[in-house]
C-alpha cells in the first residue's frame, strides 16, 4: 500500500466508451439466487446487486428475461448465496443455461439444503447464504428490494475467496485482505 506521503503518479484520464461503462461497477461479488416455485428449485447467477441497509436489505436487478423472475415474483422469496472462487466456472455456466431446461442443482452437483424460513433452498456449497423475502418490486426498473431473514456462513470451506464480474466475461478473484478498522473513526458504531 502507498503511504499517505507518496507522490501520486501523473493522472492520465482518457475518454471511455459510455456503452461499456457498466463494467466500472459490475463488480460486486458474483452471487447465486436460489428459488423454489411449483416444486421446482432453480439457481441464477447475478452481479447486479447492492446493499441498501444494515438490517440487511438488498437490491437486485433482474427481469422477465430471467427464468427465476417468475419464481421470485410469485413466491416473494429467495436465497442469496455467495459462492467461493473454486466454483467460478460452475457459477458462470449456471448463468449460461436456463432453469426452464435443466435442473441446475443436479447438473452442477450443488447441494440444496432446506432453509429455515423460506422454501427456496440454501446452496450449502456457498460461503454465505441469506434467506430473503421480497419487500418491494419496482417493475419499471426490474428492481427487487429484499429483506434478509436468516443468515448462514461456511467458515470451514477451504476457499473463502469470492469473485467479481467486471464485464466482458472477465472475473477477478479476491486477493490480499487489508484490515483498516483503526481508521474507521467516523463509523465505529457500524463496525
Amino acid at each position: 500500500m502507498v503511504p499517505m506521503t507518496v507522490k501520486l503518479p501523473k493522472p492520465n484520464l482518457q475518454e471511455f466508451p459510455l456503452e461499456r461503462a457498466f463494467t466500472f461497477v459490475e463488480s460486486g461479488p458474483v452471487i447465486l439466487v436460489s428459488t423454489s416455485h411449483k416444486r421446482q428449485k432453480n439457481l441464477m447467477t447475478l452481479s447486479w446487486h447492492t446493499l441498501m441497509d444494515f438490517e440487511p436489505t438488498l437490491g437486485l436487478t433482474l427481469g422477465p428475461w430471467n427464468h427465476s423472475y417468475t419464481a421470485l415474483l410469485e413466491t416473494g422469496e429467495c436465497v442469496m448465496a455467495v459462492p467461493p472462487a473454486s466454483l467460478l466456472t460452475k457459477v458462470i455456466d449456471i448463468g449460461n443455461c436456463s432453469g426452464s431446461q435443466v435442473d441446475k442443482f443436479k447438473k452442477f452437483g450443488l447441494t440444496a439444503q432446506k432453509a429455515s424460513l423460506v422454501k427456496a433452498p440454501l446452496v450449502a456449497d456457498c460461503l454465505k447464504n441469506l434467506e430473503c423475502r421480497v419487500v418491494e418490486h419496482h417493475k419499471d426498473r426490474n428492481f427487487f428490494i429484499l429483506e434478509g431473514l436468516k443468515a448462514w456462513h461456511n467458515p470451514t470451506a477451504p476457499d473463502q475467496r469470492t469473485f467479481h464480474a467486471v464485464g466482458d466475461g472477465i472475473f477477478i478473484i479476491d486477493g490480499e485482505t487489508i484490515d483498516l478498522k483503526r481508521r474507521m473513526t467516523k463509523w465505529q458504531h457500524c463496525i
Copy 2:
C-alpha cells in the same frame, strides 16, 4: 481453479448473525462520489451501489447523514470514480471525515479535473470516472438512480486493481483475473 469434475468439499453451513449479514454483499468496488455545490467541491466514499442497466444506470444508497446528500439532491449531478488499490488508505480516510469541515481534494492531494457535462469534478487519480445525473430519488429508501453521461478511464495508471469493502473495516484488493468469455454462451450479445 477447480475443474468441473472435482468432488466438492463437504458443505458445513453454520448460522450467522443476521445483523452482520450486510457484509456478505458489501463488496462492490469501493467508489468515490464527487460533487460540486455552491462552488464547494466534495468527495465521499461509498460501497453501497449497483449497476441497474447497461446504458449505464447506477443505484446508490446514501442519505441525509452524508454531507454529499444535499449536493447530490440539489444539483442532480455527480461523478462516480473508481479508485485504485494504491489509494486505499486515502479513500478510507476520505470516508472518515466530513466535507462540511475539510476540502477533501486538497487534504488528500487528489486531482480535481473539469468534467464535460456536469459541474462535479472528475477525480483524475482514479481508474474510472463516470459523469452522472440523478434520474430518480427514492427518499424512503435513501436510494438514488443515476444515468451515466460520459465515461473516462486511466489505462496507464500503474495500479489497475480496485478494492472492495467487506464490512468491519476490512478491505479486499483485487487478485487474479480470469477470462471466461468463451463460456458466456447465453450473453454473447452483452459482451
